[in-house]
């Protein structure tokens, strides 16, 4: 056993897969110990806040102010407020007004503004512009003037009489230190369509999905092992019946059965466990076939016959003389079943047949939510991309472990 383990861990593929899988597992276990918030808590009022550090504006007003005279602060301020659309519109006006097209560079904010200042004249009549467009340019010009102003902003509060009273002046060169602001929240992956912290939700979802995969894989492997063993070892009528059923379910697509069963169970009854059990019940076919094939080839080996002659009981023969020979195969099958169980849950959830949505997140449900709210088309990558990466990493690592084991146990594939 010790020797075998050493041999397995010497396989590069297995080791890479094992490392990725264990890392994910460790994150799933330890992350909730650090971030203690419930994963489905709705914190954001609104949908899809982008990833980043969220600093409380109210608290930052009270924090100590530091004056930093940074050279490019003004330019950065304008650049961040001047959108691509506005830039393109400015370039359009300038070309219509007769400025050479090659002189206009909309990526260079400073040059663009200078060009605008020297050329723009709101009284100038440019043919082809509608009144609405003309007004748009006037508004744009006004807002640009606002951007360029260096006046301070005033913070005011209402006093007892309900009159505004100046409380503080904030000049463009005032800064606060984020460490001194009372409320700062880092959302590394932003929030989802419900306003929930995606990272916390994702970690929980990965854990639940892995559990679903594990339960489904365990059930499938147990059923497959039992059927395969009985068909292969007992043979005869039992073999015929089991093989008949197995052959049927090999061609009837299990995913279709899964859809049918999940839909029939109904939304209220579908918990994560139920889904796991249903997936397990529909995916034992491959294990059963393979175990049977192996047992048939083992059944008439000498050591099995010897055991029979010695009067050992059936359970004893199966446990001592057959199982050890197919153990490696069964473990490999289990690994694959876990991986396909996770994928099956994800597929079901995207079709709206996943676990009911109120209790726990799963990777598939997160995907489903993101798709329903069209995150992929609106460009909210943080809502779906980390989910896909997590699913792919889990299933990739499991399959890599499987390939590694295959190379250890099947020397023909090595060299």
């Amino acid at each position: 056993m010790k020797h075998l383990l050493r041999q397995i861990f010497r396989s590069g593929k297995f080791l890479v897969g094992f490392t990725i899988f264990t890392s994910i597992l460790l994150i799933v276990i330890f992350y909730p110990l650090i971030v203690k918030e419930p994963p489905l808590q709705i914190i954001g009022q609104g949908t899809f806040f982008p990833p980043g550090t969220y600093v409380n504006v109210y608290d930052s007003l009270d924090s100590t102010k530091y004056i930093l005279n940074l050279q490019n602060a003004a330019a950065a301020r304008i650049a961040s407020k001047l959108g691509d659309k506005d830039r393109e519109a400015m370039a359009k006006w300038l070309t219509l007004a007769g400025v050479n097209e090659e002189d206009i560079d909309i990526t260079n904010t400073e040059a663009l503004l200078k060009l605008w200042e020297t050329n723009y004249d709101r009284t100038k009549n440019i043919p082809g512009l509608t009144n609405a467009q003309r007004n748009y340019y006037i508004r744009l010009d006004n807002s640009l003037k606002g951007l360029l102003s260096t006046e301070s902003a005033i913070i005011a509060t209402k006093n007892v009489d309900g009159v505004l009273e100046q409380k503080a002046l904030i000049s463009p060169s005032d800064y606060v230190n984020v460490n001194q602001v009372a409320n700062v929240r880092v959302l590394p992956l932003g929030t989802d369509n419900f306003g929930r912290d995606v990272l916390t939700e994702l970690v929980k979802a990965a854990g639940v999905s892995m559990q679903i995969g594990f339960v489904a894989g365990l059930i499938a492997t147990l059923i497959g092992l039992t059927l395969g063993l009985s068909a292969g070892y007992i043979g005869g009528l039992v073999d015929d019946i089991v093989m008949f059923i197995t052959n049927l379910f090999t061609v009837i697509p299990s995913f279709v059965l899964l859809i049918l069963i999940s839909f029939s169970i109904g939304q209220e009854q579908r918990g994560a466990t139920t889904i796991a059990v249903v997936i397990g019940l529909t995916s034992w076919v491959w294990t059963a076939r393979a175990v049977r094939a192996q047992v048939v080839s083992l059944r008439n080996r000498d050591h099995v016959n010897l055991s029979k002659l010695s009067g050992h009981s059936l359970p004893h023969i199966i446990a001592r003389d057959i199982l050890p020979y197919i153990a490696s195969y069964v473990v490999m099958a289990l690994i694959l079943q876990i991986s396909s169980g996770i994928l099956a849950e994800a597929g079901l959830s995207i079709l709206g047949l996943g676990p009911r949505t109120t209790e726990v997140p799963t990777l598939g449900l997160m995907m489903n939510w993101a798709m329903i709210y069209q995150a992929q088309i609106l460009g909210f990558w943080w809502a779906y991309f980390p989910v896909i990466v997590t699913i792919a990493l889990i299933s990739f690592s499991l399959n890599l472990m499987n390939t590694g084991l295959d190379h250890v146990f099947n020397p023909a594939l090595r060299n």
């Binding site: 995913f255 994800a346 079709l351 792919a392």
Partner: protein, 334 residues
């Protein structure tokens, strides 16, 4: 030809047995589930109605419509009769369209998308896998991990990635649908062009996934065959490498064909989900809208149609396999 008869009859027999079994599962599974589907439907419809007699009347009407007030066996024969006539009843969510009408509009989109894509992926995957086994070295070192990773991406994941890169960011292809929203299906160049453009992303997302899985399988098979005794013997006899490789890959191919027949069900299942991502007007989207609309007759009919699709595809592959594998001919003429 005569030698094949038993093989074909055997396969045909299995085709019908599985068909009947699938049909029975399709009928009995939902009815074995806890809860009364009709009661569930009525509960949803009758929300806000507090007149018990009214609710009772709605229940009666639906029980009549679905025939659930009749004994199970009678229901079954009614169902068989109706399905044979192509009658799956009315769709709930798209009433007054019949389920058959909805399915007739969507099934060809799925068939035309999935089967060409699976076959293309299978061909490319096998070629790459065989090359990896033959060339080894860097090509193999790169291809194997990439294939493992790609084949482990769920079909919908690949679909989303392609969608975001090529449709949302690069804007080369449309984001959703099977044809432009401004077009009405007709046989003119405008429509066909739109269909072809909309076809690309769903097609390639399926092809890429299929390539990964097939390449891994073909690689293992080819390595196994390349190390077989007959190859060593042939080399020993001085037969040209090119000729040996031809034999090796023909032999490695055979299990891959069986593998395709067995895996087609899984592939179709995964691809249905990919269709949903692209809002492709096929069966996947039909299932989604049926689930959303709690459309019971529609789900049941769609699952039956997908099963029949997969069974037929499997049957066709097995028949082709009979022609290709010399062992089958040999076994029959004994």
């Amino acid at each position: 030809m005569k030698g094949y008869r038993r093989y074909f009859l055997n396969k045909l027999g299995w085709f019908f047995i599985t068909l009947v079994a699938a049909f029975c599962l399709n009928f009995f599974l939902p009815r074995l589930m806890p809860g009364d589907p009709v009661a569930a439907i009525v509960a949803r419809l009758a929300q806000g109605i507090n007149n018990t007699e009214g609710v009772q009347a709605i229940y009666q009407q639906y029980a009549e419509l679905f025939g659930t007030n009749k004994p199970m066996l009678e229901q079954f024969f009614l169902y068989v009769r109706n399905v044979l006539r192509g009658d799956f009843g009315y769709s709930f969510s798209q009433y007054p369209r019949t389920v058959s009408a909805v399915l007739a509009a969507s099934i060809w989109w799925s068939v035309a998308l999935q089967f060409p894509a699976i076959i293309t992926g299978w061909l490319i995957g096998n070629t790459l896998g065989a090359l990896a086994a033959y060339l080894r070295g860097t090509f193999d070192k790169i291809l194997l991990p990439v294939s493992i990773f790609v084949s482990n991406l769920p079909a919908f994941g690949m679909a989303v990635i392609l969608l975001v890169v090529f449709a949302v960011n690069l804007k080369w292809f449309p984001t959703s649908g099977g044809y432009g929203f401004d077009l009405i299906p007709a046989l003119n160049w405008n429509f066909v062009k739109s269909v072809i453009i909309h076809y690309q992303l769903p097609f390639w997302s399926i092809v890429l996934i299929a390539i990964g899985g097939q390449a891994i399988g073909m690689r293992s098979m080819s390595i196994y065959e390349l190390n077989a005794d007959y190859v060593k013997y042939a080399r020993f006899l001085g037969i040209k490498d090119r000729k040996i490789v031809g034999y090796v890959f023909r032999n490695a191919m055979l299990p891959q064909i069986t593998g395709l027949a067995l895996a087609i069900g899984t592939m179709v299942g995964g691809n249905l989900v990919a269709e949903v991502i692209f809002s492709y007007p096929g069966l996947g989207s039909t299932i989604l809208s049926a689930v959303m609309g709690q459309d019971y007759p529609m789900i049941s009919a769609t699952t039956l149609i997908v099963t029949i699709m997969v069974l037929t595809a499997t049957f066709v592959i097995e028949i082709l396999y009979g022609f290709i594998d010399p062992r089958i001919k040999a076994a029959q003429s004994e």
